[in-house]
Amino acid sequence: MEFGIFTIGDVTTDPTNGTTPTEHERILATVTIAKHAEEAGLDVFATGQHHNPPFVAPANPPVLLANIAAQTERIRLSTATTLITTTDPVRIAEDYSYLQHLSGGRADLMMGRGNTGPVYPWFGKDIRQGIPLAVENYNLLYRLWREKNLDWEGNFRTPLNSFTVTPWPLDEVPPFVWHGSIRSPEIAEQAAYYGDGFFHNNIFWPTSHTARMVNLYRQRYEYYGHGRADQAFVGLGGQVYMNKDSQQAVREFRPYFDNAPVYGHGPSLEDFSEQTPLTVGSPQQVIERYAGFREWAGDYQRQLFLVDHAGLPLKNVLEQIDILGEEVVPALRKEFAANRPADIPEAPTHEWLVERHRAGNDPVPGGAPGTRAHNDRLAAQEEAQRKAQSQA
């Protein structure tokens, strides 16, 4: 089980004093936060991707992540999320492969479709094609990382003729991919199809809904023959603000919550905390709450926390990371390890993926011959052929 933090790179005014960090300050703060996370003993740092104010999340995450990789040694670098819809899959393949080399295999990525409308037309895409874009683009990315001299044609990008990604993935094994979605079952289905991971940010959404998405992904993962449902790769987001004194935590965080661009003027902090994983209180409260996610998410692999959102000063963010590292994460590691079946995989590392690849056990997209999915597809094809013939 790995624990870490993710940032969406928002540049938000601190409501308690009216100050706003400059983009420069926020960018440097982000790097500081990532390095501090490693020092605190956390396993993952993930960044979002944005193309407009008020964000400094990078337009190309490998730029930020490579900088952090050079200043760290162990922490895994990931995204929340990489925009698979509006970013050219060829550039994703090249840049994340480069990052993989520079970081010595400490990189993976989480795909998302993006929630900012104008980004689509800025990059020549149609927002109404969100799902088809995600499907076609990821399929191309998948092939780019596994096939040299690729000939390819599709709907959303110019064709490729005899194309090989440079650099070729480290040790011939691409970074692990998680697919993120809040409410689209098609993406859970996509993750299951390829045997990739599924990530749900979990924070702005009722837990009951998240549970259904996770369950859908797990069942379909098994359907495609990649393993048992409980062996699938699940990651969750979360958000916390902690203080030894839980009342103090609420007092400190409330102004940030009430004025946050995302939360402000909506449900109260208490209502929101009840229905989503947002936990504002003592470290013990966070431990209890998050340890309970196992009940509906199963034995999952990755838990990321949002700690730098809504204009919190850098000092507070670093303190939150300290509390995570000193109290919360060690306790959660123990909780999640207890009674965890030995044949449920951990979050994939580069070494683990290389071993799997060399053993010939890479998941077969859509299910290998002999799996239920494969047989169903063959049956459907035969049915279609028979219909076509009988009408001819």
């Binding site: 098609e186 859970a188 009722p206 379909r220 003027h265 909506g266 229905q275």
Partner: protein, 272 residues
């Protein structure tokens, strides 16, 4: 089983909007039962959802009671919607309900429009705001909308309110039965069409129906002849036949997209 869901925004304890929608609900229920259907009614007061609606607008976050109300509309065989008129239009909180519900929730469902106001001056208030919105949602808004001004509660033949309610609910009953002929069979009495669609996506009420272009409805007990023009795609005629938009929409709504058994296989999305 026919389920009628009333969505009204009664803002005071003794609200005329609530009173009107209850009258319309009762009248619709009576008309449908007279035709032999089993009827279930649900009444949603948007007032109780006001905070949840605002929260959903601002934070994108669906409160459970709001989701329940949306689910009731999705299930409904027929809908009655009544709003008070403020400044010449249905009150914003009422239209907000329809502006936040899922695009597919109302498709192919007969909808009766109603409104209340101080004077008859704003009798056409629903026509410019609510009717186009229901049309956008692909609900079948019935021709007769019912407006009740304060004076209409004086009663008697003069006000005409009872007459308008009767006309409107007769239209609702007629269209609802035409779209749900299965509701009159003993099998159909158990579940709403949306619920039945979950169990048998293949089976359709049309299966019990007719044989030729002039054929009558095969549903027992309902003796109104509806000319069957054939599948809408072939005949080019109105989609309001049992094989048209309404039925497809209702069958689709019964589908749970998070059910591993009902999810669209990825190979279809890839175009394989």
């Amino acid at each position: 089983m026919i389920e009628i869901v009333a969505v009204s925004t009664g803002l005071s304890e003794d609200s005329t909007t609530t009173r009107l929608s209850e009258r319309m609900l009762t009248s619709a229920q009576t008309a449908l039962e007279a035709a032999g259907a089993t009827v279930r009614t649900t009444h949603v007061n948007v007032r109780h959802l006001a905070k949840a609606l605002t929260e959903l607008t601002v934070s994108g976050f669906p409160a459970p009671q709001l989701e329940e109300a949306f689910a009731a509309v999705s299930r409904a065989s027929a809908v009655i919607t009544v709003a008070p008129v403020y400044k010449g239009a249905p009150a914003g909180i009422h239209t907000l309900f329809w502006q936040l519900i899922d695009d597919a929730a109302l498709a192919g469902t007969p909808v009766l429009l109603g409104a209340t106001g101080g004077t008859p001056r704003h009798s056409l208030a629903v026509e410019s705001t609510l009717r186009p919105m229901i049309s956008y949602l692909k609900g079948y808004a019935l021709p007769t909308a019912v407006f009740a001004a304060t004076d209409d509660w004086a009663g008697g033949a003069q006000s005409g309110l009872e007459g308008r309610i009767a006309t409107a609910t007769a239209e609702l009953a007629e269209l609802t039965l035409a779209l749900n002929p299965g509701a009159l069979t003993s099998a159909g009495a158990e579940a709403t069409p949306a619920e039945a669609a979950v169990g048998s996506a293949e089976e359709s009420p049309r299966a019990t129906r007719t044989r030729g272009p002039e054929g009558a409805s095969a549903s027992e007990g309902y003796d109104r002849t509806i000319p069957y023009a054939g599948p809408a795609e072939e005949s080019g005629k109105s989609a309001i036949t049992p094989s048209g938009l309404g039925e497809r929409a209702r069958a689709l709504r019964g589908r749970d997209e998070f059910d591993p058994e009902q999810v669209t296989p990825f190979a279809d999305l890839l175009g394989l």
